[in-house]
């Protein structure tokens, strides 16, 4: 079936579709991914903080029942396959976006799927801060809130940036999947043209663009993380 790929006619038709639909699709993919990641961080980062500070020996111990529930909820949401989750959260999506189809609506399931993941990533980053550093802050009279905002988060910034990069590339992959329920973007194009209409050239082009986007996000993220890390020795002069 790949036999006709190179025929002049098909090439011309594919190019026409790419030129007409890809600019919008790229834009949709980027904005859905960035917005979803942003919301996921807004919800996930505080939860990650609670997971660390809320422990029995933490700086702001939570009742063990609360902490267990939080952990359970995060694990639960993380174990539901994204395709199923999208359908399960339809009622919530309708409540928040007014509809369950379309690009803006796809942000709701993406955030629900991503925030537990972000919470776990934030937890790992924040645990890297040495207990000795936290003890130092306590010995100087820092309140729990000051320890979180002035010690734990700033000290783990490089790791948080690295993990945010992991999150954004994963969410990019999920956003392509949301093409199935009518979320816009490169994922929708790949499915509509490649899967439903056998236009493989379009599908391949969409996938290549997704790969390029991941590469861009990853290298920007890595560069930012390295630049932010003051532990890396630079020659003083």
């Amino acid at each position: 079936m790949f036999r006709d790929l190179s025929s002049q006619e098909i090439l011309q038709e594919s190019w026409r579709i790419i030129a007409a639909e890809f600019p919008l699709a790229i834009w949709e993919t980027v904005y859905v991914t960035v917005l979803s990641t942003a919301f996921a961080i807004i919800i996930g980062l505080p939860l990650g903080v609670l997971l660390v500070t809320g422990e029995k020996d933490g700086i702001l111990p939570l009742p063990s029942r609360v902490l267990r529930t939080l952990n359970g909820l995060i694990n639960l949401l993380r174990s539901i396959p994204f395709l199923i989750l999208m359908i399960l959260v339809f009622p919530l999506t309708r409540l928040l976006a007014g509809t369950v189809v379309g690009t803006p609506a796809s942000i709701v399931p993406l955030v629900i799927a991503a925030f537990p993941f972000v919470a776990r990533l934030a937890e790992t980053s924040l645990r890297e801060v040495s207990p000795n550093t936290i003890e130092m802050a306590q010995s100087m009279g820092a309140s729990p809130l000051q320890i979180i905002t002035k010690v734990m988060i700033p000290e783990s910034i490089p790791s948080l940036i690295s993990n945010a990069t992991t999150a954004i590339t994963t969410i990019l992959g999920y956003s392509a999947m949301s093409g199935i329920i009518g979320g816009g973007g490169l994922g929708k194009i790949a499915i509509n043209y490649g899967y439903y209409r056998y236009k493989y050239l379009i599908m391949i082009a969409a996938v290549v663009l997704l790969i390029i986007l991941v590469q861009i996000f990853q290298s920007v993220g890595t560069r930012l993380a390295v630049k932010a890390d003051k532990r890396i020795k630079v020659k003083s002069n």
């Binding site: 130092m136 306590q138 100087m140 009279g141 309140s143 700033p154 003051k230 532990r231």
Partner: protein, 338 residues
Amino acid sequence: MIEIKNISKQFHTAEGTVEALKDVSLSIPDGDIFGIIGMSGAGKSTLVRCINMLERPTQGSIVIDGVDLCGLPERKLRKLRRDISMIFQGFNLLMQRDCLGNVCFPLELAGKSKPVAKKRALELLDIVGLGDKAKAYPAQLSGGQQQRVAIARALATDPKVLLCDEATSALDPTTTNSILELIRSINEKLGITVIIITHQMSVVESICKHVAILDNGAVVEQGEVTEVFSHPKSTAARRLVFPEGDSDSLIAGDAEQRFIRVVFNGARATSSPLIAKMAVEKGIEASIAYASTRSIGGKAYGSMLLSIPGGDGAVQAAIGYLTQTPDVLAEEVTAHVS
């Protein structure tokens, strides 16, 4: 004045209850440099963390300038901790902040404005000799420099007390001396009470006025450094002061020889050729199994382990001869008593 009254601290672990501190009482006068020395596991770190209530003692009370810390709620305690600064073995600097930012940290916590904090921080970096490193990050500094930044940070809130938790244990001897010198000058200039936790005799010898020896969670000896170190009474104190440690290992297996320990302090003892004169006058040919001298509070002070050939007579004669000299103590040591 810091009064530690009958402090006990128990930790509950999976293996049962651990008694880290047992009925510890100390009083530390204002402006003092007070050493707390002990082997690892003796409870030193727990004790120092009780002083600023990072660990709440199970029993007893900590009274600083008439205020009992144990009764205070967390909020008041936080404010009070600005008066009790602490420096650590691992320096514990914020690695993502430059030196200036690190010294500003406690001032930010106290709610000082940025310009005020910055001005004060720069003054302090000057005091510790790192005025030119304000923009450097901790990773770019040596251990000694990092500890200086930590000291500047500890002084930022004008504390009354400086707690040093093994502050020089990660440093080489030369750097240790320069840090101790800095702590001494801070104590003299600013009148801050300094409490030094260490396992190193040399640290206590070189800057402390008073010392408490902690062993297995209890204070076994305390007093002026010269007094405690020249006449150690407890086993734990002796173990620290006589670094030949268990003289058992030197003595054991040599039934023919008898050993006496000679302890001398002051220049009078060191200036006369004691052992040579003993050989000439008494005919006792002692050989030196171990010897060390050190300076405690500016006084020469030494200990020596002599092996004496011959029986009871020779040993008694040697002890009798040696103790005639002022400031010299001599006693027989056997394998079981060290």
